[in-house]
Point group: D2
Chain length 333, copies 4
């Protein structure tokens, strides 16, 4: 059983079906009957007017979002372990035309108002230094931690005060919502988020993410930038259909709950080993090389996370029966 990544998981059958059902002649690009429903359907979900663009990857969603909040000569604050800093091969620099990522610390890749304020305090207000224009947070974080509505609100209050836009990288947004058990608007638009990368690929989708603008006016330029980045797929209906199917009956939430539940089973078994609280679908544990070898010999695969640690990620398709053996194996180490 593989616990490498939620990216490795299969596509949910309902998504496969939605893709099959979309195989009709229709208008190319984003003029089709599926794409043109997105604004309305996501607007219902969030309870407000939104503008939504599909894109194939989280990197594209994040970077298009950042170009909406930041000019090339400005900067974007993020955690030093944020995906945009660590794992996108410099994509933000490419998309923004050389804007600077300005790094703050924070355990488990979380960002707090204090560290942001501290960073801002080190930037001289003169033209020799890059001035920050935006803050980007990941929710759930790269270490599986989740922001409460209050935490997001505190960050957005700071952003308003300092003239920063607020982006949320929600590659695992569904897992975050499932974790806090709150309305998705509570940790986004109601908490002051300007743009959300709402991820589906890690949550049972095939290759479609939703870039959600809570200020629809910001989306106008983004539509050109999407094309210019080669992300306006000619058969966009297949992306839109995935997103609509995910919203249908809250499949996105059902999938995330399954993944989170699976993670909890492992977390319980590994309670003494946890490096971070398990709030979403990622589990980071202390694990010696010998222990890792033992688990692998039993058929469990996962990433080493530096020396003496490992990362396990659960996904929508990990049923209790799938993870129970792993939990037992960890327990008996």
């Amino acid at each position: 059983m593989r616990f490498f990544s939620d990216n490795a998981a299969p596509v949910h059958p309902k998504i496969m079906q939605a893709i099959a059902d979309a195989n009709h002649i229709d208008t190319a690009y984003d003029g089709d009957r599926w794409s043109t429903q997105l604004d309305a359907r996501f607007g219902e979900l969030f309870g407000c007017e939104v503008a939504v663009l599909w894109v194939a990857t989280g990197t594209a969603a994040n970077c298009l979002a950042l170009t909406s909040l930041c000019q090339p000569h400005q900067g974007i604050i993020c955690n030093r372990e944020a995906h945009i800093e660590v794992d996108e091969c410099g994509a933000p620099g490419f998309y923004t035309g050389g804007a600077k990522l300005m790094l703050v610390g924070g355990d488990g890749a979380k960002v707090a108002p204090g560290t942001v304020n501290e960073l801002l305090g080190t930037i001289r207000d003169d033209v020799h230094q890059v001035q920050a224009a935006a803050l980007s947070i990941t929710n759930a974080t790269e270490y599986g931690l989740v922001y409460s509505p209050e935490e997001v609100s505190a960050l957005s209050a700071l952003c308003r005060q300092r003239g920063l836009g607020l982006h949320m990288d929600g590659a695992r947004f569904a897992n975050a919502v499932a974790s806090v058990e709150r309305h998705p608007a509570d940790i986004t638009v109601r908490a002051g988020v300007d743009v959300l990368s709402f991820g589906f690929a890690k949550n049972g989708g095939m290759g479609a993410e939703a870039l959600v603008y809570f200020d629809p006016a910001l989306a106008d330029a983004a539509r050109y930038r999407r094309k210019r980045a080669g992300h306006l797929q000619s058969k966009g209906r297949f992306l839109a259909a995935q997103l609509l199917a995910m919203l249908e009956g809250d499949l996105w939430l059902e999938n995330a709950r399954a993944a989170n539940s699976a993670a909890q089973i492992i977390a319980t078994a590994a309670a003494e080993r946890l490096l971070y609280p398990v709030q979403a679908n990622e589990i980071f544990i202390r694990l010696t090389a010998a222990e890792a070898a033992t688990l692998r010999a039993s058929g469990f695969d996962f990433y080493d996370w530096g020396d003496g640690a490992a990362r396990l990620v659960t996904s929508w398709h990990h049923a209790e029966a799938d993870v129970a053996p792993l939990a037992r194996a960890i327990d008996s180490l």
Copy 2:
């Protein structure tokens, strides 16, 4: 019946099947069992060593190709009606970091050695002027014209002489190969092409194109640039599976032949009206507004192409029975 665009066509059932068949857990990004076959399979097709990257769109394929051939301070020669100039929202400027498209004329969007030479003759060899580094041609062109192997060879000979790389935008490469009835290598690697954007989305695919490097060393940087552009999909296996299914039994060629045949039926009926010879799957005809209205009233849809003209595009799924009514309708105008 719609003749707007080959982008509007449905996905071929074999491609849908291949996508369904790829729905297994596997390594994320391009480490899966499908992606890792691409170099070998396309190598067999072209009869030489190649490096192949999947990307979702032709714009991404074209622009990644151009970054391999051109530094930011250099230029790329193309026809003034080339897709990269007219229809990609400035994507080449974005991807290359501001390189300049240098435009030549040429009927039906074709490029000839003479016009390229003429352009090169106008560029002073000093630092005040952008120097050309590459030539990009589209085959079949935006007007459905096809290059013979000899024509490509003549252009590549000029490129070698002048130190230019040669890119082929093959959004409709399959239609070009079907048209010239030659081995695909004859109009690419054997004729001196360096990089090919081999299109499948217009030819029955869903959302996958092959960026084919005939000099595999050029692909190394392109792999980073693909990630950096947000085009490394996490479930890349679904793109790779499309490409493999297209090569299987030469489905790509079968589809292109069907589209080209459908176009010939219309071309024959519209022989007196043709603006360009019909060599692939696009038909440009003289058509008055009244005539256009008549055809539309009969259920045929297509693009107006300026005043008094129209563009019709056939696709893999246009069977003879589908186009015969249109042919008759045109004939009886």
Copy 3:
């Protein structure tokens, strides 16, 4: 006597003196006593509030101006013989992050509302095509033609109507003002220009141009971009001092008048040969290779301008006595 370029001319003695006089310890960058006077002094000249940045070159001035008017995914309309298109090695593409120059014709490199409208008419209002955001005109043009206040106003009216910013490349702005014999505001701020590159290097300066924002708010980002482009010189006082000395007693106008007068002497002698009316300090004449050789044998140097033509440029230091021999020589060809 050399008539290659006004760039080749010496620096005016008053400018040399101003540079010498500025050689004191003072605040670095643009905090010195000279730089901090620029807004006020240029404000007096134009009779309105302005924000002014010194930069060393016209290319830098032009390109910083363009970044103020155009986002990376947009376009800038200009004449196809504009300096920004032909002679800046793609600098606009670099500075703007890949924005597109959209070219219109126009005799003598002038731009007219009709051609701009025609170009705009060809741009589809969809995301596949770059949308224009600005118009850049050169005054005097690259062929020495001058815009009347009415001509500029007509262009700016069109710009307002179409949502375009208006930039004036005034590498030879002084010559244009001297030519129209109007207040400098009449062909700029009062005629609707947003940003002016006010050139001095071709007019007796050493290495300083003024980037003049008629909307001072636009200058805020430009100050960061100037630094980011490496154009914030640490001893900026030497650039500011040049600009102030140029304004002192309207030296800029005196110099331009001298250059224009010298040009008129040649124009009169070459009346039958003129390719364009001589309105500023550039003279384009028909001249056979044999005639060119004759002139050169007599000690006159200038650029060939294609076959059978030549370009002569006069400068502030060409006294009547300097150009009279050339005039006679042309006359006696």
Copy 4:
């Protein structure tokens, strides 16, 4: 007496004279009699073939150098307090098209092989992470520390081994050479440096730095990039003349020695307060707010450097008589 910055210092009289002497008609840009001597004269200085470009600022020199060593998708390693990271408003991101600065620690802004190796060890060799292509060190550093030839050689050996280019930001290169009392080649070309930003503006120049390529082939593209960045001044002879005058009789070294000597006088007086050894012309000392006020009341100006510390910079024009009063004032605090 001001000790803010060596940028605030006046221009050396011999440089002023050289500028005055260059005020002749000559070829524009870099075709004049001064610019065309640069390769040969700097070649003599370094004892090897070099290609040299003048530019007006250190930021431009540094960033053009980096574009020669690094593609847009790659990274440049530097100290986290390096000028290119802290004080150039993101210029490297702009010039390189979004390359990433990869930061290492190091006391006094020095870089050591160990920290570089450690950083390289954290970069996974896959396309998700930016791969380093170059190392940039500052000599003398931003804290006035100097690299020995052996230290540079150790870094270049690592660079060769890891495929990195090596750039030296020599804004205070003259001070470094004066400090180590070695041939300038010993800490550059003979120690494995690829490109040097050789600064003169802080050392008695007006506005000219030399970008020195020890591999002349690398300079070819840089010449286009200089133009494209708006840094090819039309009257480049005034920059070239400054550089030639600096080399004449080793004025650059004489100036640097004067600045370093002045720094030593202060360092001796402030020996108990030094935060870093004083090796060049910068002195960082512990200084309470009250002490700072006392010094300022006595007419000495300088930068506060955070709480309880100050930075003093000496320059070529600080004679012993100028700094002695400051030394006494510090001594008597």
